[in-house]
Structure formats: structure tokens, C-alpha cells
Symmetry: C2
Subunit: 305 residues, 2 copies
């Protein structure tokens, strides 16, 4: 059992990390700018402790980190507004906030940190399957550059002070609660509303992983002795047109899908797939939720909105 | 004429940038945690304006940068305590402070930024002469990694918002006012005090540039249209034993030099030299102070302490 400091704890992936952390026996200290109002006794009775902390406020962060004295850090917080995060100046702020948090955590006695990176750190188009060891790290975006730079400094710092550090590179994820402007929810919502779903040609190959699996993979990485970069992905590629067809079949309105109605996003790579051998063999994690089941559950979740 | 925001303005290189900036006709806004008490009327009568600003205090920095609305930024400030800066956690703080400053400067209307990088960003030992385009950027130290990561993010941000950005990589410098624990002053002071000067074998090849030339090179870079990384160095390599012999001859006590009395510092590369063709051809800068003259002046300066 460790005392784990979890950031981004109300975010898409961070929120889903709470249950597996508690199941693994950890005492969880969850940071959020606006912690949820708990309607049951989870907060008081369990090992889940919410802290109202804005990581951009240095002194408040320092006080909280030094008070908690966590053994482990699981850091998801970053600027993530849909569409805008790729080139936002907020990326600069989050480089600083992340490095500052890592230093505070280490200086307060922390031993192991797992931070969220991104497939956007890789050179897209360098190869079809991104490998932690072989694919060049030449990000095409400010977001990818900021994540890559953060890993460089965080790793050198960890080596310098003897901190264990792993860096999970998230590929595409989907699941309940996603921003409705993203691909999967936007198609689901259009079809459920009996509107046409306008999408690109759908010929892109992607690795789609359910957010529950992403979160569980991070907890497995935290509980493993693995350091360095680890791709967080399912390991199974799918054509986006195929994923869209699964959605359409589940909703029952395949005739409303308009493949090719939208252009591809500029710079969108033809294939963005992950080598997951480190995650499988070294961390020992296998995804639990196959795409068909994940799509079915996500459609159900949106039906109930 | 531009309005230039100068940071690290009381530092070894920053302080020497003030005169050439004023000579070039710029209005200088110098940031320092503790600005000097001016004993003449330079501050009031000239285009030199001191501001008491600690760049680690975000709100104070924001207010000053927005009030000044500089056209250009010349950023030297960083943690630089002799011996400790290589692996200090302060490097993490200065990545954040630098990116934060760059963003504030750009958002306040700034057009061109020149930032201080380091030869420590290069892979030492990859080749004898470091080239901005050919030498791999694989820093061996936390300091070098922090500088490299800062350049990555700063460049991506500059490209994203249309800011001009140049990055001067400083090699070895020497001159009056250096920390007395560094090589040149430690030898000078030992010999002036008629003590033995214990040094390593002195077989390392280095590029030694006078701090006045370093500062002037940065001002030339600021006034040029050159973007990206530029080595700031003399372009002439010297064996350290030869530089030490110049000092000993100037002081007149060559018999007190003990070459080989100290081991080399761990990781110290055999050769650390700079390709300066960008600085010479694109920026149009040539060093003014040859090593013999620079050593003579530096010895004189220490004699008068």
C-alpha cells in the first residue's frame, strides 16, 4: 500500500484511476481545482481524500504536497481543452507546473512518479507503429513538444535525485464522458438524434483504447517497477471507418453516416498505432474492454443522457 | 531602436550587455532581483531603466512585462551557482520561469526574443567541433537537459505565435568578475598570492571567449534577423594548459603551476569546441578580444582587487 497523490482527478482518465487505485489498496489523495461534492460517505469512510488544489498556484500546491507526503505520484493534470490544446500557450504553463510539482513531490519524500505523456511526442509518419525505443521523438505540435520536453527534464531530474519515474504515452482513447466534440461522441450523438454524421474518409488507422483501460494501465504501471516511457494503448489498430461502422450498427442508423463529408485534419497521420510490448510484457497489462463492447457501453451511456 | 527587456542584468554576461545595447541605440529595461544602486545619473538620464523583478514571482513579473511592452527580449537569467548548477533542482524552476516569461513577453506585444542556451546541450564527445545542425542534442547533465528542453518548447511556441526567436549557445567564457572558484580566476588568484595553482593535466581543448565578446555577440544576434540556435564562441580552440601558461606568464610565476595535480572532472570531454560559421557569416560577429589580451586584462583586474 502506498499513499498516492493523484492529479487531474476529475478529468477523463484521472477520475477513472481512483477506483483501481483503491482496489489495489492505495490511500488516494486526489487533487482537483473543484473537487466533486460527495453524495455518499466515500470521502470520509474510505482511503479517498479530496484536496482542492490548483496546480498553477505554487504556494498552495507546495503546502498540500508537503502536508500529504505521498510515496507515489500519478500526474494527469494538463491543459486539455478540445481542439485548442494542440497549440495553446497553456502548454508552456503546464511544463512549468508539472516540473514544479515533481520537484515538490520528490523533496517531500516521494519515491515513484508516473506522468502522462502522449503519442503526439512521436514523429507521426516515421513508421506505422510507434515504439518507445525506435520511433524518433519529433513532435509536430506545441502540445507534443511540451510533453516531450517535460519528459526530458523530468527523467534527468529523476536520475539526478534517485526518483523512480515512468512516463505513459497515451494514444487515442474513448469512453463515457468524453468531450462531445470528439469523434466517437460526436458520431454517437448525431445518430442518436437522427442527424447525419459527417466525418472524414475514415481511412486513418488508429489505436482506440477505452478510458477505463487507459486508467487501469496507468495504475498497473504505477504498481510495477518499470521506468521510462511506456505506450498506453490497446495494441490493436482499427480503421476509423470500421469504428464508426460499429457505432452506427449499435445505434441502428448506418445510413446516416457520411464518410468523406469532412476533410482530414491538417497533419493527421495515415496510421498512428502503438507497439505495446513494454506494457504487456514488462508491466503485465492487457486491455480488458474490446472495441465492440466499449462502443456498446459508450452508446448506452449517451442514450441515457 | 527597440525597447529591450534584459534579464539577468546584474549577471556576468547580462551586465556586459547593457553598454552595447545602449550603444546600438536601444532603450534598455533591465530586470534584476536587486538592481544596483546607481552612483551616477545613468539611470535617470539615459535609456537604461532598472526594474526590481524576481522572475520566480509570477504576478510581479507579469505586471512589469505588461507595463514595459518591450519589442525585444534578451534573457540571461538562470540558476548559475558555481559547481551546483549542473544537477540542481533549480533548473526545473528556471525552465518554467523562462517559458512563463517568454509567453508574457509575446502576449505583451514582443516581436523578437534571444535566449541564452549552452554548449551543455550538445552530446559531448559526439564530435570535436559542435555544430548547430550536425551535433546531436543529448545533454549529459540536468542543466544541459533543462536548457535543451526550454529551447524545444520556446521554438515550438515561437513558431505557433509568429515570434522571432534565436537561441545563443554559450561555450566557455572568462573575464573580470567571474566566480573565483572557476578555472581562470582560481589560477590567477593562486599565483598572485604566490600559492601553487593545482590544476588538471590541462590536455582538454576548449573555446574560451571573453565575457565582453559573449555579451556583444548576443546583442549582435538580437539585432540580426537570424533565428534558431547559434553557437556563441570564439571559434578558436586552445589547450587549457596553454591558457594556464598565458596566465602564469602574465603574473610572472610559471613555476607555481602544478599541471596534473587534480583529476579531471568526471564527464569532462577531451574537446569541446564550437563551429562558429553561423555567428560569423549569418550574424556577422567576430570576437574582438584575443585570448592573450583578455588574459592580460583579467589578470590586471584581479591585481586591483
Amino acid at each position: 500500500m502506498s499513499r498516492v497523490l493523484l492529479t487531474g482527478a476529475t478529468g477523463l482518465i484521472g477520475a477513472r484511476a481512483i477506483a483501481p487505485l483503491l482496489e489495489a489498496g492505495h490511500e488516494v489523495h486526489a487533487f482537483a481545482r473543484e473537487p466533486p461534492v460527495l453524495t455518499d460517505d466515500r470521502g470520509a469512510a474510505s482511503d479517498l481524500n479530496w484536496h482542492s488544489v490548483n496546480l498553477l498556484e505554487r504556494e498552495a500546491t507546495r503546502a498540500a504536497v508537503h502536508e500529504i507526503q505521498a510515496d507515489a505520484l500519478l500526474h494527469f493534470a494538463w491543459y486539455a481543452e478540445h481542439g485548442r490544446f494542440w497549440e495553446s500557450a497553456e502548454n508552456l504553463t503546464w511544463v512549468g507546473a508539472t516540473l514544479s510539482l515533481l520537484r515538490l513531490f520528490s523533496e517531500a519524500g516521494g519515491a515513484r512518479a508516473v506522468l502522462a505523456g502522449s503519442c503526439a511526442e512521436y514523429e507521426w509518419g516515421a513508421g506505422e507503429v510507434c515504439s518507445e525505443t525506435a520511433t524518433p521523438l519529433r513532435p509536430a505540435t506545441l502540445y507534443g513538444t511540451a510533453k516531450h520536453a517535460t519528459q526530458l527534464v523530468a527523467s534527468a531530474y529523476a536520475q539526478s535525485v534517485g526518483l523512480q519515474l515512468a512516463w505513459g504515452r497515451i494514444f487515442l482513447c474513448y469512453g463515457p464522458g468524453e468531450d462531445e466534440r470528439r469523434l466517437v461522441p460526436s458520431v454517437i450523438r448525431a445518430l442518436l438524434a437522427e442527424r447525419e454524421a459527417e466525418v472524414s474518409d475514415g481511412e486513418q488507422w488508429r489505436d482506440l483504447m477505452h478510458t477505463d483501460d487507459v486508467s487501469r494501465a496507468f495504475v498497473a504501471l504505477l504498481d510495477s517497477p518499470v521506468n521510462g516511457a511506456v505506450n498506453i494503448a490497446s495494441g490493436e489498430g482499427v480503421r476509423l471507418a470500421e469504428a464508426i461502422a460499429l457505432i452506427a450498427a449499435e445505434v441502428g442508423r448506418p445510413e446516416l453516416v457520411r464518410l468523406g463529408a469532412l476533410p482530414r485534419r491538417e497533419g493527421d497521420p495515415a496510421k498512428l498505432l502503438a507497439d505495446v510490448s513494454r506494457l504487456r510484457k514488462e508491466v503485465g497489462f492487457e486491455r480488458r474492454i474490446a472495441l465492440e463492447r466499449g462502443i456498446r457501453e459508450t452508446v448506452s451511456w449517451w442514450r441515457e443522457r
